[in-house]
């Protein structure tokens, strides 16, 4: 089975990732939550998630926690992405397509600047 062989490679990657994570400061930690209810998925949440993961890969961003949430009752705003950077407040973005996701990752997650125009008005 090819998977067995590649576990060796995974081991190496793990060690490298661990070193890199330790080099990063706690303040840089960010959490990104994607709405993945039926409404979110139908509105394109998987592509939003994909764009976020691709951004992490491309920019070699360590220490970003990516997770999901179910329907939060704001279906008309899906795909929804919630971002928390360090000790900052949780910011909820609406109608986040791949393009917007990349901008949020770049400005908010990497540079701690909230992208006001995508924030869901309360």
């Amino acid at each position: 089975m090819p998977q067995v062989k590649s576990l060796e490679e995974l081991k190496r990657l793990r060690e490298e990732a661990l070193e890199k994570r330790q080099a990063r400061t706690i303040a840089g930690r960010a959490q990104v939550v994607v709405g993945m209810g039926t409404c979110g998925i139908a509105a394109g949440a998987r592509d939003t998630m994909k764009a976020i993961l691709e951004f992490i890969e491309k920019e070699n961003l360590s220490g970003v926690v990516v997770t999901q949430t179910g329907c939060i009752g704001l279906c008309e705003w899906e795909p929804i992405v919630e971002v928390t950077v360090g000790g900052g407040p949780k910011v909820t973005y609406g109608k986040v397509d791949a393009e917007k996701a990349r901008r949020i990752m770049k400005e908010h997650v990497m540079n701690s600047r909230v992208v006001e125009e995508y924030v869901i008005p309360s």
Binding site: Q3, S6, L7, E9, L10, K11, L13, R14, E16, A17, L18, K20, R21, V34, M36, G37, T38, I41, A42, R46, D47, M49, K50, L53, I56, E57, E59, N60, L61, S62, V64, V65, V66, T67, Q68, G70, C71, I72, G73
Partner: protein, 186 residues
């Protein structure tokens, strides 16, 4: 939903919500039988006969944010529109098995879509669950099991860039391998 893979992503959330610690997803494509069959088997808490009987009703849901649930009814309708079916068997305390089939050549059959993207999303979204994904195309099989990977990672999250690339490649290559030679009707 525009892809079968998106429906899969949607309905397996029911398994997670039922407290499953292991979910097996099998996607079988057969040119000779002219079918696409998807089986989702979980070890969640299962459903009793009453809930099972009405689970395809959009106005039955266990969630609390709103009184409508569309995941299973949408998939059932899509399958039945393509000479297919959706069946659910469940045993309380043991788990649930959902099987859905499409006629592969049916004009209304939506594309299989991005299966690798769906599996990757599930791994990231629900890392606590053991995901076993099988893709069988005309007898060729690709099997992906998240357990050895998560074990090897020993606490390092899948969202670390190098690990993300590794898992993504593993999925893409495996799926491409079994789909090789299949007409590009997807």
């Amino acid at each position: 939903m525009r892809e079968i893979a998106l429906h899969v992503l949607d309905i397996v959330e029911n398994s997670v919500a039922a407290g499953a610690t292991r979910v097996d997803i099998t996607v079988c494509e057969s040119s000779s039988d002219d079918t696409i069959t998807i089986v989702v088997q979980d070890n969640g808490k299962g459903m009793n006969q009453d809930l099972l009987a009405c689970v395809s009703d959009p106005f039955v849901t266990t969630r609390t944010t709103r009184r409508v649930g569309l995941g299973i009814p949408l998939l059932k309708a899509a399958a039945e529109a393509c000479n297919g079916y959706l069946r659910i068997d469940s045993t309380p305390g043991k788990g649930t098995r959902l099987e859905v089939q499409f006629q592969r050549s049916h004009i209304d059959r939506m594309p299989l879509g991005d299966l690798a993207g769906t599996v990757l999303t599930l791994l990231i979204a629900f890392p606590q669950v053991r995901w076993v994904f099988r893709h069988v195309v005309d007898g060729r099989e690709f099997c992906f099991d998240s357990e050895p990977i998560v074990k090897e990672l020993d606490g390092v999250p899948l969202t670390e860039p190098a690990i993300l690339s590794f898992v993504k490649q593993l999925l893409h290559e495996g799926i491409a391998r079994v789909r090789q030679g299949l007409e590009q009707s997807q």
